[in-house]
């Protein structure tokens, strides 16, 4: 630490202050305001007339998850989950593959790297416009095979209406509870097999009891009120391809930086110990890349959870097969002029992102602190 003069430290704080105030207002003040709005029935009408909005508590949120009219929002949630999972999976797998390939002392590495990374420099709007043309079901990608004499593709891309893995939205809470119970049970059993402690045994017994209670007793108390079939909309594949095209390079760059950070001596040591080239990756490289995978998952995850422009440009807005909460919020607010409902959707999006980001921020800054 330098410049211990009190005056200078005061100046330093005052130089930071404008940014703190701006971010305080624009991030936390606005989030607070959105939260407050989401608890009311605020609409353009009320604000124009100057009548205060009525406090409606959690009604907007309740409507989103159980209301008859908000099937659209629930479709958005399901779409977001499937999209995020696929998007992260595609980016990690292909990004890792490309990074490993590029790490093999390739001639022309810079050229390849440039090609894989340039879509990152584009706007999602440009990506959307270009891929909309490529995904035209009667043109674009589908006729590409005919250039080499193969039959025309028939996949309908972003206008596909097929749905896989269908489930009843009513059962979602039950499904979630069972999945959570199963994870806890497996974790507890693993723990118990290793330590033979009483605590894991109690937890395991507890989860079994709860599952038994739910199965034998009345699980329907947990169910949502409306029967609605949701599922994986195949049209999302088109969005994954377009978004993946743009973001795979990012994952590749992260992995490549990580690979370059693993010293050759370490790999050589593994080879001396008798590892095959595959073994070197299995036992040395992959474990060392794990933190990068986590970072990449979080960065990609928060992009996909708040995606808006790509879908807006490609799908035009009211195509439920590829709809996302970001679009719904935009229309609810600016077309329907119902600020309360729009704010509630925005808050749900914020919560989804915060759940992913906050632990990550805290942990990565803590480890930085330790290293420093």
């Amino acid at each position: 630490m330098i410049g211990q003069s009190r005056r200078d430290r005061l100046i330093a704080f005052f130089m930071l202050l404008p940014s703190l105030i701006l971010l305080g207002i624009f991030v936390y003040g606005f989030i607070g305001s959105t939260l407050a709005t989401s608890l009311t029935d605020s609409s353009a009408m009320q604000r124009l007339v100057g009548t205060p909005a009525n406090n409606v508590g959690l009604k907007n949120y309740n409507d989103l998850f159980t209301g008859l009219l908000d099937s659209r929002f629930r479709t958005d949630v399901v779409n977001t989950v499937f999209f995020t999972a696929m998007f992260i999976g595609v980016c990690l797998a292909i990004g890792m593959l490309l990074a490993i390939l590029l790490d093999q002392k390739i001639r022309g590495e810079a050229v390849f790297r440039t090609i894989f990374l340039f879509p990152m420099a584009l706007s999602f709007v440009v990506t959307g416009v270009v891929w909309k043309w490529l995904f035209n079901p009667d043109a674009g990608i589908n006729v590409l095979p005919t250039v080499v004499g193969l039959p025309k593709g028939t996949f309908r891309w972003f206008i596909s209406e097929d749905q896989w893995l269908q489930f009843n939205w009513q059962d979602l809470p039950v499904i979630v509870v069972y999945v959570v119970l199963a994870i806890v049970l497996i974790w507890a059993l693993l723990r118990w097999s290793r330590t033979r402690g009483t605590a894991p045994a109690l937890v395991a017994a507890g989860t079994i009891l709860v599952s038994l209670y739910l199965t034998l007793g009345n699980a329907s108390a947990l169910r949502f009120p409306n029967y609605e079939v949701k599922g994986f909309n195949v049209a999302l594949i088109a969005i994954v391809v377009a978004a993946g095209w743009q973001m795979v390079g990012y994952t590749m760059a992260m992995y490549l930086a990580g690979l370059r950070g693993i010293s050759e001596e370490l790999r050589e040591a593994a080879r001396v110990d008798g590892c095959t080239e595959f073994g070197v990756y299995r036992y040395v490289v992959f474990p060392l890349l794990a933190p990068i995978t986590l970072s990449a998952m979080i960065i990609l995850g928060h992009i996909s959870l708040k995606i808006f422009d790509l879908v807006y440009v490609m799908g035009g807005g009211d195509n439920l097969y590829i709809d996302m909460p970001g679009l719904n919020m935009f229309f609810e607010t600016f077309r329907g002029q119902q600020f309360g409902r729009g704010a509630a959707i925005a808050m749900v999006m914020l919560i989804m992102v915060a759940v992913v980001i906050i632990p990550y921020l805290v942990s990565s800054l803590r480890s930085q602190e330790k290293n420093a």
Binding site: I2, F116, G128, W133, G326, A343
Partner: protein, 282 residues
Amino acid sequence: MTTASRPALQQRSMSLSRFVIYGLLILFAAIFLIPVYMVLMTGFKNPAEVSISTMWQFPSSFSLESYGQALQVLAPGLTNSFLLVIPATILSSVLGSLNGYVLSKWRFPGANILFPLMLFGMFIPYQAILIPLVQFLSSIGLYDSLPGLILVHVVYGLPITTLVFRNYYAEVPNEMLEAGAIDGCGFFGLYWHVVLPLSLPGFVVVIIWQFTQIWNEFLFGVTVAQGTPTVTVALQNLSGSQIVQWNVQMAAALLAALPTLVVYILLGRYFIRGLLAGSVKG
């Protein structure tokens, strides 16, 4: 097995695996370039030549007509975007540099809590602040104007610019500043004489990053400054209106992407550094 045959075997399997590696890389490169091929071919075609049946073929003659048309439609958007990007980038970089300097060299109690709170601003879905943002800008008379949009981009650019500079300045040895302090430099003296002269690479990274991000941004453009559409908004309007002229759309897409592409290809190294900084650990 003789000792002589082993290297030969290795050699052969090496060259086979080399072949597979290059094959895969070329295959992926080709896939990545498909959209580029399509944009270029469609954009250079005569409007009459643009049809579904020939969309993958070379144009019979190179025509710049589509680019002329696209430029005409996009010109106001391009102008607005430049008027937006330049001041917003400069302001957010300068503020970020100062913040980074303070946070890395002038740690004060509470800084460890303030910093992550600042960083959080870069991850929030901007929908979560959209309604109050519009109201706030209206109330200070900056709604639907470029200065308003500049303010928005400066503020939401602060977390990343601060982060990059904080990590960058952390590498600057404290001894250098201490030496300066002994020479009688205060807060600004140290910044001006010691820190700033070292900052060029940091500024390059941040400026490139902010330039690309602000140029490519859409949600704020479409909600905060409709009257002065940025290039992404203009491009979206083009694709969402009138008859779908794919040749003009592709030409416009290329024009809209050109500035960031040029920056990326010329200064890609720094771009990647900014990109990796986004994953916080850097």
